[in-house]
C-alpha cells in the first residue's frame, strides 16, 4: 500500500508539509493492525492513536499558520523600516527612575506618532532603554531625526546670538542651523511651556497651520518682555532644540497673555513636527542613540526570500541525499521533516498571535540550523535501527530499541543545544535573542516530532512492510550482514567446540 503511494510525496515545500498530514492518515489505518492485531494489539493501538492525535494537531497548525506571511509576524529587518534603541540618562548621568522612563517613553511615543506611520511600536527595554520600531518608514532620515530630538528647548533672541556665521545662515533661511555653546543666551527654556496644540491658522485662507503654545506665569512674563522689545522691529526669536535652531519666527506684536501662536505657511506635517519639538522640551532625561537600523522595505523582503530559498534548496538536497542513502527509509525522514516544519510554523504563528514572536534574520538562521538538526535526529534513529539489524536483531525489535536509543542520543544533543539557546536568549542583547528563541523552539518541535511521529511510524512500518520489502526500505544489506555475521559466529563457535 505504501510502496505505491508514498513516493509521490517527493514534492517540495509547503506541498510536502500538507501531504505529510495525509500520509499520517494513511498510516493511521495501517494494515498491520488488522493482520497482527492479535499479537501486538496494545502497542499498535498506542502508535496509531499517537499518530492520529498528531494528525489533528498538525491540521490545527496548518489552519493556524495559513497564510504564512500574515500569521507569522515579521521583524523589522525583514519588513524594512527603522528600528532604534535609545538609552536614557538623567542629566547628572545616573539611571533614570521608573517614572521618568515612563514619561520619556510616552514623549518618544508622541514624537513617533507625529511621523504619521501606522503600526509603530515604542517599548521600554530593560531599565533604561527604549526600543522604537517604525515598519516601512520611507523617510528614514526624518524619522531618526525626530526620534532623536532629545529636547533641551530654548528660546533665544536673534540679537543675542553672537555667531555671525549662524546669523547669516539664519537670514538665508537655512534649516537646522547649529549654534555653538556659549555663542548665544536664551531668555526662556522649554520648561515654561504648559501646552502645545496645532490648529488651522486663523488669519490664513490657504489651509496653513499654526502651532499654539501656552506658557506658565513666569514664561508669560519673560515672553511679554521680549516681544515688547522685538515687536516694533519684527525681531526674530529662535526656537532652539539641543543647540539647533528649529524655527525662528519673527515677532508680530507684543504677547502678554502667554498664548503664543507660531505661523509661517506650515503644512500640517510641518506644524506637527514643530509641535513635537516643543513637546520634547519637557523630557525628564536625555536620550542617546544606542542602536539604529534602517532597512529599505524591499531589501528586507529580498533577505527573507533568499533565506527561504536557502532553506528549500538545502532541505531538497538533504532529502535527495537521504533517499539515496537510506532509500525507502528516507520517506520517514521526509515525513519527520514535514511534521517538524508544520509544528514549528504552527508554534511560531501561535507566538506571533500573542505578540511574543517576530521573525528576524538571525531567527531565520536559527530555523535553518534547527532544520538541519531535525534531519540529524532522523539519521540517529535510522542508523541505530540499521545497526541493530546488522547485530542480528529482528526488524521489529530493532525498530523498538533502535528508535529508543536514537532518541536518547538526540535528546542529549538537543539538551546541549538548548543550553546554548537559553544562554543566548537570557544574556545576549539585540537581534541575537531572536536566534536563541528560534533555536529553542526548533528543539522543542524536534523532540515532539521524535516521540509523536518518528518512533511510532518506524515501529508501525517495522511491523510489516519493512520485512516484506527490505530492498525498498534499504535494509537488505544490513539483513545480509546480519546473516553473514551469524554464519561466521557459528563457524567460529564450531572451531571453539572442536
Amino acid at each position: 500500500m505504501k510502496d505505491g503511494k508514498e513516493p509521490q510525496d517527493g514534492a517540495t515545500g509547503i506541498d510536502r508539509w500538507r501531504k505529510s498530514e495525509g500520509k499520517g492518515e494513511g498510516r493511521s489505518k495501517s494494515r498491520p493492525r488488522r493482520k497482527r492485531g492479535h499479537r501486538m494489539g496494545a502497542h499498535v493501538r498506542r502508535y496509531v492513536s499517537t499518530l492520529v492525535v498528531l494528525v489533528v494537531v498538525l491540521g490545527v497548525c496548518v489552519f493556524g499558520f495559513t497564510p504564512l506571511s500574515e500569521r507569522i509576524t515579521q521583524g523589522l529587518d525583514i519588513r524594512g523600516g527603522v528600528s532604534v534603541i535609545m538609552t536614557a540618562k538623567t542629566s547628572d548621568g545616573g539611571t533614570p527612575s521608573a517614572e521618568q522612563m515612563q514619561e520619556a517613553t510616552s514623549i518618544v511615543q508622541q514624537r513617533v506618532n507625529s511621523l504619521g506611520s501606522s503600526e509603530t511600536t515604542v517599548q521600554q527595554q530593560g531599565s533604561d532603554s527604549i526600543l522604537i520600531q517604525i515598519p516601512g518608514a520611507t523617510n528614514a532620515d526624518e524619522a531618526i531625526k525626530t526620534i532623536g530630538q532629545t529636547g533641551h528647548l530654548e528660546f533665544v533672541r536673534l540679537d543675542d546670538i553672537g555667531d555671525a556665521d549662524a546669523l547669516a545662515k539664519l537670514d538665508a533661511g537655512t534649516e537646522d542651523v547649529e549654534l555653538k555653546d556659549g555663542t548665544y543666551e536664551a531668555f526662556m527654556d522649554g520648561s515654561h511651556i504648559t501646552q502645545v496644540t496645532v490648529a488651522q491658522a486663523s488669519n490664513s485662507a490657504t489651509g496653513t497651520y499654526a502651532v499654539n503654545i501656552k506658557l506658565d506665569d513666569e514664561g508669560t512674563k519673560d515672553f511679554a518682555e521680549v516681544t515688547k522689545e522685538l515687536a516694533p522691529t519684527n525681531g526674530r526669536i529662535a526656537i532652539v532644540l539641543d543647540g539647533v535652531v528649529k524655527s525662528a519666527p519673527a515677532v508680530q506684536s507684543e504677547i502678554s497673555t502667554g498664548e503664543v501662536s507660531i505661523t509661517g505657511n506650515f503644512s500640517l506635517d510641518d506644524a506637527n513636527s514643530l509641535k513635537t519639538v516643543l513637546d520634547s522640551g519637557s523630557l525628564p532625561v536625555t536620550l542617546t542613540y544606542s542602536e539604529s537600523r534602517v532597512v529599505g522595505p524591499t531589501l528586507g523582503q529580498d533577505s527573507l526570500t533568499q533565506g527561504i530559498t536557502a532553506i528549500i534548496v538545502g532541505v531538497a538536497i538533504v532529502v535527495v541525499y537521504l533517499f539515496v542513502f537510506y532509500r525507502g527509509l528516507g520517506l520517514l525522514t521526509l515525513g519527520s521533516l514535514g511534521v517538524f516544519a508544520v509544528l514549528y510554523l504552527g508554534l511560531l504563528a501561535l507566538l506571533s498571535h500573542f505578540g511574543a514572536f517576530a521573525l528576524t534574520l538571525p531567527g531565520l538562521a536559527g530555523m535553518v540550523l534547527t532544520t538541519g538538526s531535525a534531519a540529524d535526529s532522523s539519521i540517529l534513529v535510522l542508523e541505530r535501527f540499521r545497526e541493530e539489524i546488522r547485530m542480528g536483531r529482528s526488524v521489529k525489535n530493532s525498530s523498538v530499541s533502535g528508535a529508543k536509543h536514537g532518541i536518547m542520543t538526540s535528546l542529549d544533543a538537543d539538551a546541549v543545544t538548548l543550553v546554548t539557546a537559553i544562554a543566548l536568549f537570557a544574556f545576549a542583547v539585540g537581534p541575537v535573542k531572536g536566534f536563541g528563541l528560534t533555536l529553542a523552539l526548533g528543539i522543542a518541535c524536534d523532540v515532539v516530532t521524535m516521540f509523536c511521529f518518528k518512533a511510532p511510524a518506524l515501529r508501525l512500518l517495522a511491523l510489516g512492510t519493512i520485512e516484506r520489502h527490505p530492498k525498498f526500505w534499504g535494509v537488505d544489506q544490513d539483513l545480509a550482514e546480519a546473516a553473514r555475521r551469524k554464519e561466521e559466529k557459528l563457524g567460529k563457535g564450531g572451531v571453539a567446540n572442536a
Binding site: 528614514a140 534602517v294 533577505s303 533565506g307 530559498t309 536563541g436
Partner: protein, 309 residues
Amino acid sequence: MPHRRQLLSVSAVLVVLAVIGLVARGLVFGIEFQGGTEIDFRDTGSVTIEQMRGALVDAGEKDPTVQTSVTDGKAGFLVRSDTTDPNTANQHASAAAKALSLASDSYTVTTIGPDWGANVTRSSALAFGVAILLIIAFVSIRYEFKMSITAVVALLHDLVITLGVYAWTQTAITPNVVAALLTIMGYSLYDTVVEFNRVNENAKGLHDGVHRTYYQIANFSINEVIVRTINTSITSLVPVACMLALGGATLKDFAFAMLVGEVLGTYSSFAVASPLLAIWKTREPKWAKLEAKYGDGSTKVKPAAGEAE
C-alpha cells in the same frame, strides 16, 4: 587511529597557523561591539569601489572602509565607518546613494552607539561564558572525567582554529558570529561525546578477540559511528552552505561561522578528541598492559576465553 600522529600533527600545524594569524593580523570586530556605522548597499550595478568611496567622502564620511559584496548574484558594497550618530550616518548614506543615482531603498544603515557596543560586548561575553560552562558541566555530569577534559581540549582546538580563520580572512566578528559559533561548539562537543560513549561501551563489552588495546577499540568505534557522524554533518552543512551561497549579509554571517565550526567540529571529534583520549587511557595500567601485549597491531586470534577479566 593508526594515523593518530599524522592527524594530531595536522591539528598542531593548524593551531600554530591560527595563532600566527591571530598575532600577525588580529581579529576584526563588527561595529556592534565597538560602535560605528555599517552601510550595506545592494544592487549597485556598475558603480566602482572608487566611485562609492568618493561619493561617501563627498557626503562627509571620514575615512570609510569600503568592501565589495555580492548578494543574490548582484554587486553591492559593505561600508564601515566610525560614525556613531545615526542622523549623520543616514544623511551620508542617502547623499551617497543620490550622488550615485541608486534607489533610496537600496541600502541598510546600522549605527551603534559607543556605550551600547560596550554593553553588547559584555552581554555576548557573558552568554558565551555561561553557555560554555553549562555545556561542559552537562558533559561532565553525563560522562567520564577524562572524556570531558579531552572533549573540552578538542573544543578549544576548534575555537582557536576558527578564530584563526577569522583572523586570516579578516572577516568581522559580530554578535551573530558569536551566537553561531557557540551553537556549533555545542554540536561538536556533542559529536565527540557520542563517539566517546561508543568507545566506552566497546571498551567494556567488546570481546570480539580482534580489538583489544584502547587504540584498536577507539579505532573500531570510530568506524562504527563515522557514517552517522558524516551523514549528520552533511545534513547540517547543506542548508548552511545554501545559506552562505544564497543569503544576504546577516545570513552569511551566521552561515560562515557555522560552516567553519561544523567542519572543524566533525574533524576534531575523531582526529583530535579520540586520539587524545586513547593516548590518555592507554596510560592506565590495565590498558597499558594490553597495549604492551597486543599493541603492535597483531591480529592473531585467540579463543575468547583468554580474555576473561
